[in-house]
């Protein structure tokens, strides 16, 4: 419906006034009315960086068909759905001391507004949000770059790393739909100084990266001081429920997970999250997404079977969930959830010895990226 005439004319006048102001030259010594306010003091440098993919890692996104792709591109922020527990986990990570949260997504830059709004709706704060220049790729005829991820994400990750001290640690979050595990692992080894220039060039060539993207990645990699072990963990959300054994080749740093309760548990064991924070992630999954006690317990057992969590950690968490423990006062005023989590705590404390199914991969496993490329990026291995 068109606005009433008075309102329209008022709007036109306002627009004209702004136009006039833009035309006026800014005299030297006179502060422009557009000038930014005095800059806030720079935040202290981060100690830990969390890098998140968006689609299928944070958001439930379907883009397997053109219809899905179009729906995903045009739906509003309110219609977008996050993966259970992801928002709660991000909020908890944000509370950590001197942490930085960066999103890097293959979605086009034109979606920035709607994606930012979605994150705001979920109460998720972030420091950096990198989106793919798909319009530019299209206009310059770089069609392959629209789907290719290595040539886009690796330079973006390396650029994000530049300026950080070598002792800054990182945790990366991706999914099994694209090549996130490959890219994050390559990034981790590149900044760790474990990938030589010729090897990196060969990997980028075989991955089908454009020459300028590859050259940028190589120069960024060479400019970084080696930071061995900087990437502590790479969590891969198994959106497609891929067999976990698929990721064995990437070593112990990569943890395939089926939900964010599992992430919270591993981070609890790593000392990155406290029991109360694990509880808040679980609470969101129970209250907002209908997770049951069985689902939570089974998720935990799955980690134990895969040797991704120690039974002592489960028991320690259980003890803190019990009424006498520290976690319960933080459960809030949700009696059913409180009861459920207390039951979970009771069961965790009674956990017997779970037979270790698979010894965890050795932490110093050297990844054969060229072999991994053949498996995880079969369509793009041909050099462009």
């Amino acid at each position: 419906m068109a606005p009433p005439p008075d309102e329209r004319s008022e709007r036109d006048r306002e627009r004209e006034r702004r136009r006039e102001e833009r035309r006026k030259p800014v005299r030297p010594g006179v502060e422009s009315i557009k000038a930014a306010p005095a800059p806030a003091p720079a935040p202290p440098p981060p100690r830990h960086v969390y890098r998140w993919d968006l689609d299928k890692t944070y958001l439930k996104t379907e883009f397997d068909t053109l219809k899905d792709l179009l729906r995903s591109a045009f739906e509003g922020a309110e219609a977008k759905q996050s993966i259970p527990g992801a928002a709660a986990l991000l909020r908890e990570l944000r509370h950590g001391e001197r942490t930085r949260i960066c999103f890097i997504s293959g979605s086009p830059r034109q979606m920035r507004k709607v994606l930012t709004k979605k994150l705001q709706l979920d109460g998720v704060e972030f420091d950096e949000f990198i989106l793919k220049p798909n319009l530019r790729n299209m206009l310059t005829g770089r069609w392959a770059a629209m789907r290719e991820q290595v040539g886009y994400k690796l330079p973006a990750l390396l650029a994000g790393r530049s300026g950080l001290a070598p002792d800054v640690r990182e945790t990366c979050f991706g999914d099994d739909a694209e090549a996130d595990c490959f890219i994050y692992s390559l990034y981790a080894d590149v900044i760790g100084g474990l990938v030589s220039r010729p090897l990196l060039e060969e990997i980028l060539d075989r991955a089908g990266c454009y020459e300028d993207d590859a050259a940028r990645a190589v120069s960024l990699a060479e400019a970084l001081p080696p930071a061995p072990g900087a990437v502590e963990r790479i969590f891969i959300h198994l959106d497609r429920k891929s067999p976990t054994s698929r990721f064995d080749r990437y070593g112990a740093r990569v943890v395939p997970i089926f939900n964010y309760f599992q992430v919270a548990l591993v981070m609890f064991e790593d000392g990155r999250l406290g029991a109360a924070q694990v509880v808040r992630v679980a609470l969101e999954m129970v209250d907002r997404f209908g997770y049951t006690l069985d689902a939570l317990r089974n998720s935990l057992s799955d980690l134990l079977r895969r040797s991704r969590l120690r039974v002592e950690t489960a028991r320690a968490l259980g003890a803190q969930l019990m009424p006498s423990g520290d976690g319960v006062p933080l459960l809030g005023a949700l009696p059913e959830s409180r009861e459920l989590l207390t039951q979970l705590g009771a069961r965790l404390t009674q956990f017997g010895d779970v037979p270790v199914v698979m010894p965890p991969p050795p932490p110093d496993l050297r990844i054969d990226f060229l072999a991994a490329l053949e498996v995880d990026l079969p369509r793009r291995r041909k050099s462009r």
Binding site: K241, P243, S245, F258, Y291, N298, S299, D302, R305
Partner: protein, 337 residues
């Protein structure tokens, strides 16, 4: 964790179930380490799967009684205990049939009025039935009993009718006795007597006697017989199906014209194969216990296991045991009167 292809195919089937049926929680009972190893290699949702360790397994060739006595922690016994203790609602196994039935009878209670628990099987038929147009009939008993009385046959009819009503959403399944003629006086004495008793039972839709030829036609939804006869019939029907497929394969290789003919019939034959594919029905129940047991074929692969678990989940949703108890109470009351 029994069956010819355990544990890999069982785990794969349950993995698939966890992706297809969000409302079903499955407990895999067996050697936890082997199950865990198998789970690493298959697509699954671990939120819907738990693993319960049982160190032993009854092998397919073992004598049931001896094996269960020697292996008190055999997976079938442990699983039966979990169902007895209401940790699970139903038991599904592709393992040694004798051991499975014996484990159930050692662990569970028989429903009051049931002297013997029959083993059922489903068989594809020409006629479809129920709300979901199920293309199979229920045949029981197919091997749990050798000699049966008229009362046993009536009990089987009640059990089969209650089960078919639930699984096929068919409120009045047609129940028939398998005999050597349609007339009431045909057959051995227990069949004649069972016919007389069943005719008086209004709660069952008894349609009289049928002959073997009527089984694949689907004249009845529930076919009742003794275990000895049922087992022979079932094996023969399976043998005929396999022979027909082998003959088709022979014809395909023999002459170009026959091959062309078969290719033209390809769509129809594929449809026929789908209907007669026992894997799509998954398994059949052992009825008469106060808990539910679905027996899958020993040769079951992942698809059959997925479907057997779906059948178990479907039947568990209602109170089958209560329905059977009520029907048996009425039968007993009539007999007493």
């Amino acid at each position: 964790m029994g069956g010819d292809y355990a544990p890999d195919e069982i785990v794969k089937g349950v993995g698939q179930l966890s992706l297809e049926a969000p409302h079903v929680q499955t407990i895999l009972v067996g050697h936890a380490e082997r199950i865990g190893q198998a789970l690493l290699k298959v697509r699954h949702n671990p939120e819907r799967i738990s693993v319960h360790h049982a160190p032993d397994v009854v092998l397919m060739h073992e004598k049931p009684k001896d094996a269960l006595e020697a292996k008190p922690e055999a997976s079938i016994l442990v699983a039966a205990r979990l169902v007895r203790d209401h940790v699970a609602d139903a038991l599904v196994s592709a393992g040694n049939t004798g051991a499975s039935v014996l484990a159930c009878s050692m662990t569970w209670q028989r429903i009051h009025g049931v002297r013997r628990a029959p083993l059922a099987a489903v068989y594809p038929t020409e006629i479809r039935r129920g709300e979901k147009d199920d293309p199979f009939s229920l045949l029981l008993d197919v091997g749990a009993t050798l000699d049966v009385s008229a009362e046993d046959l009536c009990t089987f009819a009640i059990l089969g009718s209650a089960y078919a009503a639930r699984v096929s959403k068919n409120p009045r399944p047609k129940v028939a006795l398998l005999s050597n003629g349609a007339e009431a006086g045909k057959g051995p004495p227990e069949i004649v007597e069972a016919h007389r008793l069943l005719t008086q039972m209004s709660e069952i839709n008894f349609v009289g006697n049928i002959e073997g030829v009527d089984i694949p036609r689907g004249t009845a939804d529930v076919v009742v017989c003794g275990g000895y006869v049922g087992n022979v019939v079932l094996k023969m029907l399976e043998g005929v199906s396999e022979t027909v497929l082998r003959l088709a394969s022979y014809a395909y290789k023999e002459k170009l014209v026959w091959r062309a003919g078969l290719m033209m019939l390809g769509g129809g034959l594929k449809r026929l194969k789908e209907i007669t594919d026992w894997e799509q029905y998954g398994g059949a129940p052992v009825l008469g216990f106060d808990r539910l047991f679905i027996k899958a074929h020993g040769r079951s692969r992942a698809r059959a296991i997925t479907n057997a678990c779906k059948v178990a989940a479907k039947v568990s949703q209602g109170n089958l045991v209560a329905d059977i108890e009520e029907a048996l109470r009425r039968f007993e009351a009539r007999r007493a009167a």
